[in-house]
Amino acid sequence: MALTLTCPICGKRNGYEFRYGGEEKGPRPEEEGMTPESWCEYVHLNECKAGVQEEWWFHRDGCGSWFKTFRDTTTNLEQPTPAREE
């Protein structure tokens, strides 16, 4: 199915303008005390969610910004940001 994504600067655009940047995995591990395990986890390991996940995208053929969005991987549809619990 055709993918559309909403760039925070350019608005809704054709998905082929973007490059997928991976699952949102929290902050990059500190260099201090970093182990092969923690780096491997950050670089390679995924949850592979069949459902809604938070992820990074890059507007390659547009304004060049990186942003995060929620997408349902079973439909390719963008999802509203879930309300955060206080």
Partner: protein
């Protein structure tokens, strides 16, 4: 769903509350593992749990290509054994798997690619696999329809020719293995979804399904594209996998014109002519993870452009059917086969990307041995999960984490 006709792998069995071994997924790898567990290891108290119907996943959607000309010393022997098994299984299962060893031709479009092919060929030859480099003219002699002129996007410099490869009827493999396994006592439970794996004190105790819990000491997850999501959901184990939809299509039938499997990395396109005369062709993967298994206009266009450049005789042809399936890609484009390491009795066989058909026969044999003896066979040892932390990536390709047409 299947009307009143009897499945050829026998009567529907009642789901028992306990089995020695439960295999999650009714694809090629589970079916082959079940078959060899029963046939070679004497373990027949085995259940295959399949959410939809056997062959629903990659098993029934792949483009049926088999070959043993991989890149690394670990992969080639495994795929060689798998390739050698097709005629053996055809006899053993008493089922025509329609192995057509028409040979594979990998087109090379630059001097750098020719050099990479030389290394791949050297590995293949070292392992006794027939594979050699040919120039563009020789490629044209093998496939007269090939366009070897200079005025296409990626002119052909030569090719890697691998005569023992070809195609096998993928559905026949599913049905043949199911029949063979069932005959030896394996229970195949379709329309039964695994929803969890129970463990106690670091050991597997059972599998939860939508039809009830099954007690067992060993479980194999070989659920194709869904494996990574299930393993994370059931056991909290994350894998270095990205799941992408991969698309394929067939054209209307033609007179015989393509008597080898032809593939091109630069065009991201491969094709072969089926016995019915259709050109079956596969495209590259979607550029972002998804489980949709849907086709996109982007790839239909891409496929039409690629094919009509290097096989111009196909210009104006119509695609007759299109479909998609899932490819679970690892960073080194080699699978993950592991077990007993994370949790006692838990085994996984996944990360097959778009190579899981050609490997299934040999993998089933070794996974069965692994599960029966609790000892990882040497053949599977390099494919463990730890290699990603130990900087022992396979180098099956110099792949990046994201699989897009521009890398």
């Amino acid at each position: 769903m299947f009307g009143k006709s009897k499945p050829m792998w026998g009567e529907r069995k009642k789901l028992k509350s306990s089995y020695d071994v439960v295999l999650i997924g009714g694809g090629l790898h589970s079916l082959a593992t079940a078959y060899y567990l029963a046939k070679e290891q004497g373990i027949t108290d085995v259940a295959i749990i399949e959410k939809n119907y056997i062959g629903y996943g990659g098993a029934g959607r792949n483009t049926a290509i088999v070959r043993a000309n991989q890149r690394t010393q670990y992969n080639v022997p495994l795929y060689k054994e798998a390739l050698d098994l097709w005629p053996v299984l055809t006899k053993e299962l008493d089922y025509n798997l329609m192995f057509n060893n028409c040979g594979n031709l990998n087109l090379m479009h630059s001097e750098a690619a020719m050099k990479a092919a030389r290394m791949t060929i050297a590995t293949a030859q070292f392992h006794g696999v027939e594979s050699h480099l040919i120039d563009a003219k020789e490629a044209k002699e093998l496939v007269p329809a090939l366009n070897i002129s200079e005025d296409i996007t990626y002119p052909i410099h030569g090719a890697m020719f691998h005569p023992p490869g070809g195609v096998v009827r993928h559905d026949a493999v599913v049905w043949g293995l199911a029949k063979g396994a069932a005959k030896l006592g394996v229970h195949i439970h379709q329309q039964t979804e695994a929803t969890g794996i129970n463990t106690r004190n670091g050991k597997v105790t059972g599998v939860v399904t939508d039809k009830g819990t099954i007690n067992c000491k060993q479980v194999l997850v070989s659920a194709g594209g869904y494996s990574a999501s299930l393993i994370h959901g059931f056991l909290g184990i994350k894998l270095p996998i990205s799941v992408l939809t991969i698309q394929a299509m067939v054209t209307q039938p033609l007179k015989p014109l393509l008597n080898h499997v032809v593939s091109s990395g630069a065009y991201h396109c491969y094709a072969n002519q089926t016995l019915k005369g259709e050109i079956a062709t596969g495209a590259h993967m979607d550029q972002w993870p998804n489980y949709t298994t849907l086709n996109t206009a982007h790839y239909i266009k891409h496929q039409a452009e690629a094919l009509s450049e290097f096989l111009p005789a196909l210009r104006g042809l119509r695609f007759m059917r299109i479909w998609g399936g899932l490819a679970d890609m690892t960073p080194d484009m080699a699978p993950i086969m592991d077990g007993n390491e994370q949790i006692e009795g838990f085994f996984m066989d996944c990360g097959w990307g778009y190579f899981g058909f050609k490997s299934c026969s040999a993998v089933g044999k070794y996974m069965a041995q692994f599960m029966a003896t609790n000892e990882c066979p040497d053949m599977l040892r390099p494919f463990n999960l730890k290699r990603y932390q130990e900087h022992k990536l396979m180098g099956e390709t110099a792949a990046l984490v994201n699989y897009t047409p521009d890398n």
